[in-house]
Symmetry: C2
Subunit: 238 residues, 2 copies
DNA sequence: ATATGATTCAAACACTCGTTTGAAAATGAT
DNA sequence: ATCATTTTCAAACGAGTGTTTGAATCATAT
């Protein structure tokens, strides 16, 4: 009658199997990418039968989607919630750009500090995926992000009325790139440079990452507008 | 005796075969990634025999390395050459940070405008690869970039004596991310946002990309230093 | 013209991939 | 305790992978 599910069980339940697969897949996708991660690697790491993925998710592609969905839905809802709050507090006045930037990118970075939400693993996975979007992942990401990005773009337009919209969209894109590298990069930067920083500082990097990134993003977003060189104009020569 | 190689030849020579493979591989890698691009796809697109890749390059992995090498060595030599010039002109005085940034990132972007150097195709390929570095590619990139990045880091240290070195390294990393997205992103940004910009402007994007990116990068690099929140200090509580 | 080396070619190699199958085991409700 | 459902399991499927092989073809120099 009590029916309390025991904390430890010798035989994992079906619900456990699903999450074990998702956790193993998330980790392996982050380390090796999608194509290089085989079903046998996933089911082996999750200690479940090979057929379990097809049984619970249908196919490998659908598994990939579910790996992202269970984290992205929460993230984007949170982003929308915070933006709603900011707009409510601001009333008719425009919101400070730094608050908008923090609501979008800061929420993502802060997710990395919560291991229950995927932590750094999911963070790096999403970082690598943004540049590696093969076919159906593009479509999935577009759908999952469509509403959120549009809302934030509009908020930035209103917040920076003097900056041309095209410029804001580009800078939003640049900010995405810097953030993606900030995330994936705790390792990925090692490709291109060994830090030359005392290893003692390596530990508290995550604490200081967010303020560091924010300073950079705001600095880039509010930079003086570019001067386009008119000498490239093709109509100057008859 | 004249032996002039005809412009069009029914049977391509061996030297042609190598470059046809490299061109086809570069394009396919950019579109599908390394794992998802098969030898049969490459040799099919290059219209050469399947065994030609193994004959000319040894293996698929060595082909991947050669695809990067033929472009990266030129790029990085050019970067070093320009930095040498800047340092010679500056003498003992520090170089303006914007000149250093342009020498490193601008040279990369300007490469995209020269179709003979790979153009946008190689540009996007390198953009996606920075976050997708599986195993041996990490090592190859590290070797290919080692000297260049170190030289540029030192130049920035000297150019910004008031900024802590750790901060500069991070901001260099952020700049890499923004640039990578600027490159790969002409398509990749579509994942996350449809521009909402007049399609007429879509044509001259490449012209304006460089000044746009430069403004953002300099703005981020020269942004006010972050204030680290001391409340997270673990030693504040006895 | 002939011999030598470089290149191409069709075929096959051993292997891994994602998925399917049908029976066995576990679970939950009556 | 019996039944119906859900979940697990070992085994196999066909298709596609990178690579190798040995003969055929090409180019070049003697």
């Amino acid at each position: 009658m009590v029916q309390a599910t025991p904390i430890l069980r010798a035989t994992p339940s079906a619900a456990d199997t699903r999450e074990r697969i998702l956790d193993a897949a998330e980790h392996l996708f982050m380390e090796n990418g999608f194509e290089a991660t085989s079903m046998r690697m996933i089911t082996g790491a999750a200690e479940v039968n090979l057929a379990a993925v097809n049984y619970h998710f249908g196919s490998k592609d659908q598994l990939i989607q579910e790996v992202f969905r269970r984290r992205l839905t929460w993230l984007n809802q949170e982003r929308l919630r915070i933006l709603d709050e900011l707009e409510a507090q601001a009333g008719e006045k425009p919101i400070k750009p730094s608050l908008i930037v923090d609501a979008f990118f800061g929420t993502l970075i802060r997710m990395a500090e919560d291991e229950a939400l995927g932590g750094k693993t999911f963070m790096r996975l999403i970082g690598r995926t943004m540049t590696d979007p093969s076919g159906f992942i593009r479509a999935f990401f577009a759908e999952e992000y469509a509403g959120v990005v549009d809302r934030y773009k509009q908020a930035l337009f209103k917040s920076l009325p003097d900056v041309p919209k095209a410029e804001i969209v580009w800078r939003f894109h640049f900010m995405l790139g810097a953030t993606s590298y900030a995330i994936a990069g705790t390792d990925a930067l090692r490709i291109v440079t060994d830090w030359g920083i005392e290893p003692s500082e390596a530990e508290d990097r995550l604490d200081k990452l967010l303020p560091r990134l924010m300073s950079f993003l705001i600095g880039g977003l509010r930079a003086p507008l570019p001067q386009f060189d008119p000498s490239i104009d093709s109509s100057s020569e008859p």
